[in-house]
Amino acid sequence: MAPRRRRTTAALALANLLLPLALLVFATGFFPYKPVLPGLAGWDEEDWADAAGAGVGVGAGVKMGEDAPFDKLVFMVVDALRSDFVFGKGGRMGFVQSLIREGSAIPFTAHATPPTVTMPRVKALTTGGVPGFLDLILNFAEGDGEGGAGGELGGVDSWLAQLRRKGLGLGLGLGGEEGETQGGTDGGLVFYGDDTWLKLFPGEFFGRAEGTSSFFVSDFTQVDTNVTRHLPSELLPPSSTKPEWTALITHYLGLDHIGHKTGPAGPAMLPKQREMDAVFRLLYEAVEAQAHLRDTLIVLVGDHGMNAGGNHGGSGPGETEPALVFASPKFASPREAPAEPREGTEFEFYRKVQQSDVVPTLAGLLGFPVPRNSLGVVLGEVCEGLLGAEGWGRLLRRNARQVRGVVEAGLGAERWRGLVEGFEERVRKGGCEGVADGEEEEMACLWARAVGLKGLEGEAEALLAFLYKAQDALSSTASSYDVPRMGAGIAIAGGSLLLAVLAFPVLWPPTLAGCALTAVTGLYGVMMFASSYVEEEQHFWYWTTPAWLALLAVRSLQQGGSRLSLPNGLSVPRALLVIPLLASHRLMLRWNQTGQKHAGAPDVAHAFFPDHHILMWLAVLGTYLLVGAQLTRSSFKGVLAAEAAVSTAFVMVLPAVVFKLNFTQADAPELVLGLGERVRAFTAGLDLVAQARVVFVMLVLATGIVVVGSTWKNEKTSAKEAKITLADRLHPLLTLFLVTQTRAPNVPLFFLLELQRSCFARLLLPPTPNPNSKSHSQALPIALTSLLLSQTTYFAFGGSNSISSIDLSNAYNGVADYNIVAVGILLFAGNWAGAVWWCSAAVTLLLPRPESPAQSKVGSRAWVAQERAKLRTDAAGSAPEAGGDGEEGSSPWMIHITATTVFSAGSLVAVMAACTLLRTHLFIWTVFSPKYLYAMAWAVGWHLIVSVGLGWALWGCGGVV
């Protein structure tokens, strides 16, 4: 038996080691690293040569870039400013609309490529590059609220860096830049708004700056007034206290907060649009009136839009279509301002451009080299009129040369030259239609054509053709998948799956739970290939879980055996426990509406509780009471004297409740509405960070007391006295931690979870022990149960496979300074609270629980103790004879982990295969890539760290009874 056991352990360990390897290998093929060209772009020889003809440059009197129509920029970002808020008839930005009609403002619908969250969008708007999907992880891994620092842009070329250099009169190149600063902040950049920018451009990048944090989305006003209050003084003529700026950047968060909180039709939305319109008017009228702002360009831009539910992150029509407006009294091209979007679109009022197009356009209008990594194409509507035909042509050539640089960097200069030379002859005879084969050749051909037409008619058109082709080709990452690597990732995950399956001590004959696990894994795998099932994954778990519960009940009926005695002396079959299980399951799945199809439909947390907030708080308090009772009855039982246990539990739960109340007041005041006013007033002196720390410190102390106390006590007590496993003792402490990491409306779910656990403890008991049967182990059914319920609760808590459903609100509990490890743990615990809880619950279900005499008296538990005692003696007695193939060879925990490994590996194989086969699918970046990220989180966070790591620790603690 021993060698076999060692073999299965080795196979299981290897299977789990292969999982992260598979994830890594696949990810490097799926999310290829995009090289970023370092350094700032300068004027090159071709620019000089081009400009010399126009009387600008070294020889002439005018310096490069000084012929530009503008020398100052006001860049006003309004978070989540969807097109229709500005242009539509339902919008309230009348001043902007009037400017559009007059011709002083030039509107666009700017396409925001997914992921539509702030940080990657700011990157695109400033550098002109297309942020890779990995930026998204950085957005959450490092950001707070609506954004964060994912790879600083301080050293990457952007219009900010270019303007800063121009304004401060710095030399070319990045080296020794700070030393060359002339006169402090004169002519530098000024920023007010979302502190994402300050993380992207850290240090002394901005001359003056004040960041606002978007921590609580319930803040509709403060985040914006904190920006606006700086504007009047910034618009005054420069003074010694406020030196001149080259660019004034503002980023307003209020509109996005309103969207998140109340949706695009919320009551605060229209007043906020009017407020933004007033800010824009303030800026525009200052530019009109003040001499020193004469050459100032105003850009109004939304970083992304929002969907019908007010959220963003994905690729829905509303999310990807923010507004973009260039405004200045110098523009004069009156146009119709349609109140309705174009036929067949929801949010396209004007020409649809890319957000990155802002970057070369600014380069042309403000006279600086186009930033190196930009994939933008200059906007003719804005530039052509002001620059004149010659200037426009020069700008187009500059833009095209810069994009060629990006293409060359990707293909290699040699290869590119070869391709272009190959086409030079052929394009003279005609266009590129049908000549080129593949995107690279097409780009080369268009470039060759544009070069050939230099100075001739049709050059502008040819350059634009090249630019749009290159933008299209370089933005889509389809060409840069590393398919062999992706295949290797799948193969490694497949190997892990095979090893995990072989690690089962018994494969034949199949058990009910074994068949069910196979079916669940298989169906889940198939499901991963359908985008709508990935979006609506919760339905799969809501569908399979009741069926499994029913099967458990049927099995319990078939096995007969012991019945459940009720307090009134009657007894009923254990199978009836399925009724509270099903009822609580049904209630949970309506708790939070999730998925895409019915997003925003009424549910308990969002529709019922806001109207019945007192009921919600009663349920929340009831849950805390239950946790307190558990702390007293299991965690501290025997470790502390009864009175001390009660008071300790009280001292632990009270700060947790107070923190929850204060946090909810800050995060969702509509759920508090004046409740507990005196409590809140009393604790107002202590900030939320300190309050959370109090809760966490108490938890750590209590854990220490319980571990030390129960170990010490165990040495003294005899076998007959009441014993509670350490895993049982730690479970309530973990529950309290997870409750702290959960939003108030979801807290009562833990009450239901606890109800489910106690039902399972009775339903999943082994049937009448039979020493000859190898199937008496309940490990596999428990594993499947915990798997199904982990997934179910994840979705019931509001989780989904969409990036926009990640809940950041509790990720900063007790964290004052940014700490990636702490925030990561808190973020995971907050979003996977139910799934983590079930890992611990599964261990408590798995452990052979010695029953205390006191508990045995409860009657319903008496037979439990008898059966378990008998089971243990049977198992001990039969193990030696059981031979090499008995389940007795492996501990229940090993079987449990084998089962979760099989599911994790199987689901990874399926997700990876789906991402590989569907890599050209329309939804690859919106559905399948986020699903892969979630699969990574499930495999590493839930399976490896929590299920295997924490579970192992708790299982080991089980020995200390």
Partner: protein, 246 residues
Amino acid sequence: MSSTPGIKPIPASKPAPTPLPQAKPTELLHDQYSFLAANLHPVILLSGLALSFNRLVQDPVMTLARAAPVVIILQALYCFLCLPSTGQAPPQPKNKWKKQAKPSQDFGARAVPAFLSLLLTITLTIPALFLVLIFFGAPLTTHQAHTILLAAHLGLLATPQLFYVHGLDVRVWMQAASLQLPLDEVYGMSLGAVLGAWFGAVPIPLDWDREWQRWPVTVLVGVYVGACLGKVVGGYLVKGWRVKLN
């Protein structure tokens, strides 16, 4: 077997009830009409479903409500024509006039249990199945009429034949609930209807945006197809098998 009424009731007060004899698969009545009717039954059900499918998608409540009496009659006829009524009368006084099942049962002995079976279906199983449907995820705050009618059709397809053949013995019903009855066309039809209802929920989340994805069309189709499939499979392919969950 005599045709006298009054079957001895199962003694309820006995301390150790006699172990239930191993249930045997139900056999159809031995006449050609029974055979014909039994095989026509699924054909009629499925073609009825196919014919009213468009109306079902347009107006599920009305269509299901109108179809219910027809299904009641169909199921009553099926029980009446094809199945042997319960061999052992349950200890129910109202059943005392019922005749025992045998090929040459007279009209009343077959009509009364058929009527009772449907009465019990409507009063007992349909409310219970409504709860089960809710537990398995049917909408609770909306579409109540839809779900009640779905429960009605599920109950009508899954239970009258069980009442008719097995009576009201709690132990037999426990066996039925715990999948311990041998498979036959009666039990197969019941299991098929229930399983079909479960599988019928699969297409609902797909983003095809078809009218027929609306509640409860797919589940209802699942019930009908499952019942007919279960009946044929249980009656012919796996007759006499028992489901064993270790």
